[in-house]
């Protein structure tokens, strides 16, 4: 199965003009909102216990992009986070590492140095995160800086203003340009900020737009707005990557981000993945959680399973 090749060629005809692209995106089947939410809710009722739960917890830890995206980030904080990514639970070295550490571009070098040799990747947000309100050259420069500093993955935001105004081709070309900047050096995650797209139909259109433009990952949100990842919008995006692979043979990753705070929620998302796209995606190369506080809850649950005693916040880091 092809894994990283761009699918741009398969859709060359629909991306030639604004009108053709609009016709294609608006020709995607409409989303049954009630059905989608009911499906997501019913999959959320699965009971995952004992060995399955232990497996899910370790898998979820290995899928976390441990994130700090604050104006107040310091090199010290990034180094502390990196140390946590490598050894999430210092008292139990069997704990898997997280997938990546996600920081602003100016912190990439610090994170890279702190993670050297650990196998944990460095992801950097770019393209005028979180608003995405900047000219394309600025966005490309932002991306270039992050990659030059050693970022393995780039999390870009789309221009929601252009998308909502119907200028799909502009969004497409911006994603393509950033993808070209990443080349083979970094995997590209495209953030749609689903909370700002208003409708499920828009989320489906954005997903296809991002995948056609060469995204390696599609990501729900920045974590900076009121509505972040929900089971329903993540399910919708999982369906999009499933359909995209069926059509083109290209596998795309999914990353829900923001608002996933406890183990129960994380396990619900893993159930969605398994039931929608199957085991091929149950790997941190194809599915990620953008989260920070989630890790502590996963660690407390892991300690509970290991010792039989409920753990507490005194036994995980404050970050």
């Amino acid at each position: 199965m092809p894994t990283t090749a761009s699918a741009a060629s398969a859709f060359a005809d629909v991306t030639t003009s604004e009108s053709a692209l609009r016709r294609f995106l608006h020709g995607l089947p409409g989303v049954d909102a009630v059905g989608l939410e009911a499906r997501a809710a019913s999959l959320g009722t699965r009971s995952i216990k004992t060995t399955a739960k232990a497996y899910a917890i370790d898998l979820a830890i290995s899928m976390i992009d441990l994130t700090t995206l604050e104006g107040a980030d310091t090199p010290g904080k990034v180094r502390a986070l990196a140390a946590k990514a490598v050894h999430p639970d210092p008292t139990d070295r069997t704990t898997p590492t997280t997938a990546a550490v996600c920081v602003y571009p100016d912190m990439v070098a610090t994170a890279k140095a702190a993670l050297a040799g650990s196998g944990v990747k460095v992801a950097s947000v770019a393209t005028a995160f979180p608003a995405g309100r900047a000219a394309l050259p600025v966005k490309l420069a932002d991306t270039r800086d992050a990659i030059a500093a050693g970022a393995d993955e780039i999390d870009m935001v789309i221009d929601r203003g252009a998308f909502l105004a119907g200028r799909y081709l502009e969004v497409f070309e911006q994603i393509s340009a950033v993808k070209a900047e990443c080349g083979d050096r970094a995997r590209l995650k495209v953030i749609f900020e689903t909370g700002e797209l208003s409708t499920y139909d828009n989320i489906r259109r954005a997903s296809w737009l991002g995948m056609m433009a060469g995204a390696d990952f599609i990501k729900t949100s920045t974590g900076k707005v009121a509505v972040n990842a929900t089971p329903a919008n993540t399910l919708l995006m999982l369906e999009a990557v499933r359909d995209f692979r069926a059509q083109t043979g290209v596998q795309i990753g999914v990353k829900p981000a923001g608002g996933i705070r406890n183990t129960k929620d994380a396990v619900k998302f893993l159930v969605l993945v398994n039931e929608t796209v199957g085991e091929d995606w149950l790997d941190n190369h194809w599915f990620r959680f953008g989260a920070s506080s989630l890790l502590n809850d996963l660690l407390m649950q892991r300690q509970k399973l290991a010792t039989g005693r409920y753990s507490g916040p005194d036994y995980v880091t404050v970050d």
Binding site: Q303, R309, Y310, S311, G312, P313, D314
Partner: protein
Amino acid sequence: MSDQNRLSVFKTYKLYVGGKFPRSESGRVYEVQDHKGKWLANAPLSSRKDARDAVVAARKAFGGWSGATAYNRGQILYRVAEMLEGRKSQFVREVAHAEGLSKAKAAEVVEAAVDRWVWYAGWTDKIGQVVGGANPVAGPFFNLSTPEPTGVVTVVAPQESSFLGLVSVIAPVIATGNTAVVIASEKAPLPALSLGEVLATSDLPGGVVNILSGKAAEMGPHLAAHQDVNAIDLTGADADLARELEIAAADNLKRVLRRRTEDFTGSPGTDRMTAFLETKTVWHPTGSLGASGSAY
């Protein structure tokens, strides 16, 4: 409508956790009977997950409650007494049923419980002077010891004294700024569950007191082993259970108030408060000692 046609409205007794009144997560209930074996109501049979949720609520409330001024805590405890006074008739009835007392005897018990809240309300801003103080030290320092709350305290409430005993174990825990997870008397939980309603209307922040009904033997071991519980009061545990819980509690060095029989009608003293206090001692430099032996 005439009285004969009216259907009586029964109360659903529910837990009190985090300022809310949930049913047990497990959906289980058990029958509560009066002293003659007559059915009174169904009470929730809490599971270990209810206990876990209660600890989370108590931990969340701890910062605000321990940080409140002692004066403010005193006012709130006094408010609890006021609210209880207003609902005396309900508690007299429940205590009479639960413990098989006459109306007059039950009224005495409830009045004693109201007075107990007032007693501890008065202590909130005085315990510091009794067990803390300035220590004379041989150096240029002010040396001050102050009592600090321990944290989240699990309380196994007395089995027999379902109301006065209950108040006598909860009030000292929260008076000093701790938060409590209480396992009510298994046999007579109704006065405890109703006390939750009083606490909810007394300006007591949600989560400071969390009341669970059910089996102490089921929830106790999980709470005693819980890493986020700082202390445990074993007053209402039977001998075997108390032994088991003390062993489980040793793992993270919880403070343990050992099981004991107590006459709750007597003067309460301060030892239930001091059992859940820790002493913080601070050295303030005052500058070097002068030739006279003192800098001030």
